[in-house]
C-alpha cells in the first residue's frame, strides 16, 4: 500500500514539482522527500498524515528548519 503513496509523490514531482526548483523549500528535507521517508517508515496511513501535517506547517510564520520524518 505504501507504494501508492510513493507513486503519488513521484507523480507530483514529475508534474507540478517541476515548477518548484529543488532547494527552495524552507524545511530540510523537502516536503516531497519527507513524504517519501514517511511512507517508507510509517506506511500509507500514518505517512499521509505526517506528510499533510508537514505541508500545513509550511507558512510564512513557521520557522522551517531540519525535520526528518
Amino acid at each position: 500500500m505504501r507504494y501508492l503513496g510513493i507513486a503519488l509523490v513521484q507523480a507530483w514531482r514529475q508534474t507540478f514539482g517541476r515548477l518548484t526548483p529543488e532547494g527552495t523549500c524552507k524545511y530540510h528535507p523537502s516536503c516531497s522527500q519527507y513524504a517519501l521517508d514517511a511512507f517508507e517508515k510509517h506506511g500509507l496511513l500514518k505517512g499521509t498524515g505526517k506528510a499533510v501535517w508537514r505541508l500545513l506547517r509550511c507558512s510564512p510564520w513557521s520557522h522551517g528548519g531540519v525535520d526528518y520524518a
Binding site: Q14, F16, L19, T20, E22, K41
Partner: protein, 280 residues
C-alpha cells in the same frame, strides 16, 4: 466551478500578457508562450537564488540543528530562541517560504485553460483582423491550439519525454534504485494524458523543463563550493557550461553526496529496527 472562479483573474492576466507579447512585441503566438515562461521564471530568479542559498546553509548545518532540537526538546521556547540565534549566525532565512514559487502552479493551470479556450475566445478577434492560422504555427511543425496528436505534435511529445527523463535522471541520482526506476517510468506513463494537451501547453511545459533543469545544474555546480550563488551569472546562464555539466553527471553527483549521507543512515536504521521483517 469554484476553481474556475478563482482562476478567472489569473486567466485574464495571462491573456493580457500573451496578447501583448503578440501585439506589442510582435512575437508569433508560440514564441509568446515561450517568452511568458521565461519572463515568469526570470522574475522568480532573485527569490529562487536567495531561497537556495538559505537552504544550502540549512543543509550544511543540519546535524548541528538536529542536536539543538534534541537538546531543548522539552523547552520549546528555549529551543526556538536557540534556533533563531543559530539561523541568524548562519545566514539561514526561515521566514522565506516556497509560496511565491508554488504560485506558478495556478499559473500553469490558468495557462492550460487560456490555451484550451484560445481558439474560441482569443483568436476570433485576430481572425477578424485578417490573421490566418499560419500565425499559430511553431517552426512549421504544430499549431498551438491543436492536440499534440496532430501533425508533428508527437515530435513535441517525444521532446517532452526526453526533457522529462533527462531531468528525472539528473534529479534522482542519489535515490534508491526502486524509486529511481519509478521516476524514470512515470514520464512515459504520462504520455497518454499529454497527447490530449494543446501543443501550446506542451511548449510551455518544455520551456519550463529546460529552465528548471538548467537552473538545477547551475545551482548544483555552485553547491559544493559553498559560495553565495552570483545573481548575475544565474540570470544569464552560460550555455556551454550548462551542457558541459550535463555531460558529466557522475561528477556532480559525487560532489552532492553529503545530503543523502545525512539523510540515509537514520532512516535505514529505524526501518530495520521497527519493520525489518514485515517490509518484504
Amino acid at each position: 466551478m469554484i476553481l474556475a472562479g478563482i482562476l478567472t483573474p489569473l486567466e485574464d492576466l495571462l491573456t493580457w500578457a500573451l496578447t501583448n507579447l503578440h501585439d506589442t512585441v510582435g512575437l508569433p503566438w508560440a514564441w509568446s508562450i515561450v517568452a511568458l515562461v521565461v519572463i515568469v521564471r526570470m522574475l522568480l530568479v532573485p527569490l529562487t537564488v536567495r531561497q537556495i542559498h538559505s537552504m544550502q546553509n540549512l543543509q550544511a548545518h543540519a546535524p548541528e540543528m538536529k542536536a539543538l532540537q534534541t537538546k531543548y526538546k522539552h523547552d520549546r521556547q528555549k529551543m526556538n530562541q536557540e534556533l533563531m540565534a543559530f539561523y541568524k549566525e548562519n545566514q539561514i532565512n526561515p521566514a522565506a517560504s516556497c509560496l511565491p514559487i508554488v504560485a506558478q502552479i495556478p499559473v500553469f493551470i490558468g495557462l492550460f485553460f487560456v490555451l484550451r479556450g484560445f481558439e474560441g475566445e482569443i483568436f476570433p478577434a485576430y481572425r477578424a483582423m485578417g490573421e490566418g492560422t499560419g500565425d499559430l504555427e511553431w517552426l512549421n511543425l504544430v499549431h498551438i491550439i491543436d492536440n499534440t496528436k496532430v501533425g508533428w505534435g508527437p515530435l513535441l511529445v517525444v521532446m517532452y519525454a526526453i526533457s522529462q527523463l533527462t531531468s528525472s535522471y539528473l534529479m534522482s541520482a542519489t535515490m534508491q534504485p526502486a524509486q529511481r526506476a519509478l521516476m524514470l517510468i512515470l514520464p512515459i506513463a504520462f504520455i497518454p494524458f499529454v497527447l490530449n494537451f494543446p501543443a501550446g501547453l506542451m511548449l510551455y511545459w518544455l520551456t519550463t523543463n529546460l529552465w528548471t533543469t538548467g537552473q538545477g545544474l547551475i545551482t548544483r555546480k555552485l553547491t559544493p563550493k559553498r559560495e553565495p550563488p552570483p545573481k548575475k551569472s544565474s540570470r544569464t546562464p552560460p550555455k556551454s557550461e550548462a551542457t558541459a555539466k550535463a555531460e558529466r553527471p557522475a561528477e556532480t553527483n559525487s560532489t552532492n553526496e553529503p545530503k543523502p549521507v545525512q539523510n540515509g543512515p537514520p532512516r535505514v536504521k529505524k526501518v530495520k529496527r521497527k519493520k525489518g521483517g514485515a517490509r518484504r
